[in-house]
Amino acid sequence: MSARDRILGRVREALSERTAVEHPGSFEGWRPAAPALPVDGLAHLLEAAGGEIVRQPNVDAAAAWLASFCADFGSSAVGETVPEPLRPPLPAGAPDTAPLGVSLARGAVAETGSLIMDARDGRRAQLLVPTHVVFVRTRDVYVTLREALIELADDLPSAIGFHSGPSKSADIGQILVKGVHGPGRLVAVLIGDGD
């Protein structure tokens, strides 16, 4: 008998005389009042958590914004899934030394203010850079975390990260500090489908 069998055996024995509770069903309907547009909810929470929000009507506008934003940086580490127009005009840098990281989020969640980072985009560039720019299409913004997880479940990479603001900690005397390990500056660029 293996450890597995013994553990499962003890579990079954513990439960043998007990009546089980039914699963109560889906969790929904009790979330905070959502603003009219999910994108506004996302922006509000990300900003409240210390992130920066940039709104661009379309990919071209976002690319133009990126070109000017990059002026302050010497190199960048770019995610694998970032499309050509949104790749910064900078020399490629390694994730652990580049001052800037640019990623494409798989989506975002309005009710928690989270960006959905897929491992396929490359984890190091999402985590090691001090300044992290994340593009997300407004059409990929989910209202609820539950919806997001249901869809993600159909196509899961090795890891998904939900990033809801710049890295922070209050472990030193309850005082808030940023950029402890992950990026200390998070810029979320919300790209619309417009002209």
Partner: protein
């Protein structure tokens, strides 16, 4: 007992002494803990005020109760899914077994250094001391855990390991160990820690984490944090080991949505942890980075004992949010160290008797005035005061209570059924100076040590009533 090392605990048996010592000799701990826990609790109140907290808590309680009622099925499903995802699943009955599994992984892969994400389970198992004994350099990466690792102390609170320390304590520590100026601001201190730890993240062979939730349907380990050190610890090293208590199961990834939010709101008042990792397994062929191997160690270590208890199994619903610690008027006088074990406060008191054994866990079930504040804030509605009384009943059954208490209460109960004798005893109480009585009866001695003797009324009320009240 498993996991005894330089940073581990002294055992709950010394609770009274340790608590008294802390209160008397380190009043700043009480101040720091009171301030920190009040802040956490205020944030929780605000965050729960934004949602229908009652309904969320009912839902969370029912999902967890459901899982625990079918735990074997969900464990098997989780194992199947994790294996299909390419992860290795191990089963550890005891702390020793878990450490042996870690030891095998270390030896097989020639691990020299490890980075650790904050994990209360890893504290419970004594992971750090064991790995160090195998020659592995282990670095805690959560800022609070890093601080206490440098100090050689165990964590003081489930969510904020270093809340018993002040900013000045940190300034002195960092000045000594990292060379920062004595008057450095928290920003600068954190920056020094970040620089020191980055090198460790990049060099480590092994990343060790716990698991907040394990979704059975997709084989997903979910982890919550604010700093990013968990994402880094589980992404950079070539091997990731997640130690997950068997009670952490939830049926579906979809369910994790409710738990992530409720737990974050309960713990720190945030809508969600700043970083959440959902880990399925090792890097896939189309991914550029990520660990080559992911191991999930499913740990029992007394959890099946707790599950077998017809009342206390409800404590397994715990999501380790710390809300009960934050509201507990007993916990805040001392912080976690006095409890002498990994888990302190109300939750520690109700799981210790099963996981450590009741005798070893004493007097924790009595380290409570039964005020009930904890159960009012528990996101999964664990009936904590009821369970404290449950364990007290077991302590009585097992003869673990002092003889004087047993005799005293039995005598008292008999007296209470004989009103004339009861009244006579009361009269004696009123006429013997309590300062004297204090030395005679241990119960009164405890009272008299810290308080003035209560003044009895001149006559008992029942006496006054007999004489007539105008």
């Amino acid at each position: 007992m498993a996991g005894r090392g330089p940073m581990s605990f002294t055992g709950p048996g010394n609770y009274r002494e340790e608590a008294a010592k802390t209160i008397r000799d380190k009043p700043e701990v009480r101040t720091s803990i009171t301030a920190a826990t009040r802040t956490f609790d205020a944030h929780r109140v605000h965050a729960w005020g934004q949602i229908d907290a009652d309904r969320w808590r009912d839902w969370a309680r029912d999902v967890k109760s459901h899982v625990l009622g079918h735990l074997d099925e969900y464990l098997e499903q989780a194992e199947e899914q994790l294996t299909a995802n390419g992860a290795h699943v191990h089963w550890a009955e005891t702390a020793e077994d878990a450490l042996a599994i870690l030891g095998d992984i270390v030896r097989e892969h020639g691990v020299e250094s490890a980075v650790k994400a904050k994990s209360m389970l890893s504290e419970e198992l004594g992971v750090n001391a064991h790995l160090e004994s195998l020659g592995v350099h282990v670095r805690e990466t959560d800022l609070g855990e890093y601080i206490i690792q440098l100090l050689g102390q165990p964590p003081s609170h489930i969510v904020g390991p270093a809340i018993h320390l002040s900013v000045d304590d940190c300034r002195r520590l960092f000045h000594e160990r990292l060379g920062t100026p004595l008057d450095a601001e928290p920003d600068e201190l954190a920056g020094a820690a970040r620089d020191a730890l980055r090198a460790e993240f990049l060099a480590a062979d092994l990343g060790i984490s716990g698991g907040n939730f394990l979704a059975a349907d997709t084989g997903t380990v979910a982890l919550i944090e604010n700093e990013g050190n968990i994402r880094l610890s589980t992404s950079l090293p070539r091997i990731h080991v997640a130690c997950v208590g068997i009670e952490k199961l939830v049926p579906k990834l979809e369910d994790v949505s409710g738990f992530l939010q409720l737990t974050a709101r309960a713990a720190t008042g945030q809508p969600i942890g700043n970083f959440v990792s959902l880990i399925q397994g090792p890097r896939k062929n189309d991914e550029v980075d990520g660990p080559e191997e992911v191991h999930v160690v499913l740990v029992d270590n007394g959890r099946t004992k707790l599950l077998a208890d017809d009342a206390a199994w409800e404590a397994l619903r715990c999501v380790r949010c710390g809300a009960c610690l934050n509201i507990c008027p007993v916990y805040r006088q001392t912080g976690g160290h006095a409890y002498g074990w990994t888990y302190s406060g109300p939750i520690g008191a109700i799981i210790a008797p099963a996981m450590l054994g009741l005798e070893e866990a004493m007097p924790l079930p009595y380290a409570s005035s039964l005020c009930g504040a904890c159960t009012d804030v528990c996101p999964v509605r664990i009936p904590i005061p009821e369970l404290l009384v449950h364990w007290r009943e077991k302590a009585v059954e097992q003869g673990l209570t002092p003889m004087t208490e047993t005799m005293g209460l039995k005598a008292y109960a008999k007296l209470a059924q004989k009103p004339d004798l009861f009244a006579a005893a009361g009269s004696v109480l009123r006429h013997v100076p309590l300062e004297l009585g204090g030395r005679a009866l241990p119960v009164l001695a405890g009272w008299m040590q810290e308080r003035s003797a209560p003044k009895s009324s001149k006559k008992s009320f029942l006496q006054m009533w007999k004489e007539g009240i105008e």
